[in-house]
Amino acid sequence: MTDFAREEDFRSWGNVVQAAHAVARPFWRDQLTATVSTGRQQGLALLATGLRRSYGDSVLNPAGGMIDMTGLDRIIAFDPDRRLLRAEAGLPLHTLLDLLVRRGFFPPVTPGTRYVTLGGAVANDVHGKNHHVNGTFGRWVRLLGLLRSNGEELQLSPTEHPDLFAATIGGLGLTGLITWVELELTPIDSASMDVENIPFDGVDGFFALARESEGNFDYTVSWIDCLAAGPSLGRGIFSRANHSESGSPLPDRGNTRFSMPLDAPQFAMNRHTINAFNAAYFRNGKRKSGPARVGIHPFFYPLDSIGRWNRLYGKKGMYQYQSVVPPSVQYDATKEMLAAISASGQGSFLAVLKTFGDELSPGLLSFPMEGTTLALDFPNRGEETLRLMARLDEIVLAAGGRLYPAKDGRMPARLFQAGYPAWQAFSKHVDSGFSSLFWQRVSQM
């Protein structure tokens, strides 16, 4: 429990890096201090891990020791009047949804998977389809517990140790072990969503819809067909929604229907299958466009309906690439990126485009900033894939944008440092007993 045991094959969601790790699995809060001190005595640089939905190396630490926090999943206190929930850092969002939705509450921000722990949501300052309304997850964190490697236990908030709080929100677990989180919840009237899906023909269409929708819809997102070329470049389906005022009070079951039992063969994801999928998805979206009332799970977590969907990408795994570029250049930069991807023929079928609002992110390393974010995933085809991403890096760099560490397994240090000008201020708060493969890579001068 407080000991570190070697696990041969410990991976993140992207499956690109397969390395052995020393892993401890504490179960109770009173074991955390002993876990951290055991790790330090063994000379291991530590890192917390949750459900490992981070794609790259921000949740890997092969030379050090991982503290798997999923055993710490207890609720500590729930105050419906003040809309506050305090829970251990390993509590997953899917459990929270199960408990909250029927009581008329919703997480203020949810990412595209419900398999994320509270600690992970804080450490990556996750965002969702309502960024233009609620900003990032960290804006709703009222208090959190942090255990430093010297054994010190701190309570952080925007007013208590505010600098360390700002470093810990979005701080990729590097400022110490997040032990518990207190979150302010959002009230909802029902467990249903009023959704409207609108097909659009190109990047212009997307921006027009985004502008038109943000005032009246709490949630907006769109899927784009990133293999479409020429006049169809950037075609897609824009989706906008609000919580229904009069829908079902009980959540849909949202059970995973099907789980990938093993890795798909490498040839399953090639330009033809992805192209065919995208074209069919677009046609289907067009056919089903218009308003509809749906449950929470199909709207927020469509991918969670396939367990271990990352196995679709085969043994070599996949890369995610999520960028954000500022409003002044968002139109041109987005078009340029889509053209580069389309020309390369290495499309992904999970391309997502969304505008971020101007709510300031509370973390020194928070990814979201005002502008447009594009998220893509690419089957790992080695050099060819890395070359395409290097080309995209240049566009992001020139646009003054940045990449999302939770999705990244390869961004060059110079891109990280340019995109996160507060990184040096952040590094002063990094706990000397904590580290990650990501941090070792991007903090090099």
């Binding site: 000991d3 045991a5 699995r25 179960f27 009173d30 207890r74 609720i75 500590i76 408990l99």
Partner: protein
């Protein structure tokens, strides 16, 4: 539904308690660590439990088991299910030489659990309904060098619970022995836990919870262990003794 859980902080008990909480049951959690029991109680209340009581008690101490059990029942205001979920794996290798350590493994896993089972059986028999659910182990099916002292205790417990089920047969109450295969819990920390034979405590809890309602005196968890253990039990000694399992 009123449920007493003896050894409430064990991983299988924690998951089973959550299933009871979800259906709005009232729970009494018994264990040694007050702090952990309180943390668990707070969690179960938000997860839907109507009432959660805790009692701090060393269950392996076999003094006044009957009196303590009545105290627990009074504290909860009655009882429908009793789950006995504590146990220690112990250090087999050390216990082969250190008879005090061996006795401790037998005492915790068998003697004390048997006492609680017998005390519970009398209460359930008197009230004419209710379930006694005891966590055993596939390790009780055949002695293996890796854990036969623990296995012997669990085998004894199986015979005992089977007997209680027989005693209940023409009466109202139920007695069930759950026999988990290897499970990913703090008890098995440090073993190589990869592979299809390892189950999560959630899976074992689902079977435990269902059997508490349904009965059936012996339940392998997951169910396929029934067939694996059938093969292992029927292997002739000359073959079994050459195997490294």
């Amino acid at each position: 539904m009123r449920v007493i859980i003896l050894g409430a902080t064990s991983a299988i008990a924690v998951c089973t308690a959550r299933l009871y909480a979800k259906e709005g049951a009232s729970l009494l959690l018994v264990g040694r660590d007050e702090n952990r029991l309180s943390q668990m109680a707070a969690d179960l209340k938000v997860r839907g439990a109507e009432r959660v009581e805790i009692a701090v008690h060393d269950l392996a101490a076999e003094t006044d088991v009957g009196a303590h059990l009545s105290g627990f029942i009074t504290q909860l205001g009655g009882v429908d299910h009793v789950l006995i979920a504590y146990g220690i794996l112990g250090d087999q290798h050390a216990a082969e030489r250190d008879l005090v350590a061996a006795a401790e493994i037998l005492k915790v896993n068998f003697n004390s659990a048997a006492a609680w089972s017998l005390a519970t059986a009398s209460v359930l028999e008197r009230q004419g309904r209710g379930s006694l659910v005891v966590i055993g182990s596939v390790a009780g099916d055949r002695g293996r060098r890796a854990n036969f002292i623990y296995g012997a205790a669990k085998a004894g417990l199986e015979t005992l619970v089977e007997g209680i089920a027989h005693r209940f047969a023409d009466k109202g109450p139920r007695a069930v022995l759950i026999k988990p295969g290897p499970t990913i819990t703090p008890m098995t920390e440090g073993m190589n836990r990869k592979g299809l034979l390892w189950a999560t405590p959630e899976k074992i809890a689902a079977i435990t919870h269902a059997r508490a309602y349904r009965g059936g005196s012996i339940a392998y968890a997951p169910g396929f262990w029934r067939y694996i253990m059938l093969i292992i039990r029927t292997l002739p000694g000359v073959i079994f003794n050459r195997m490294d399992i």
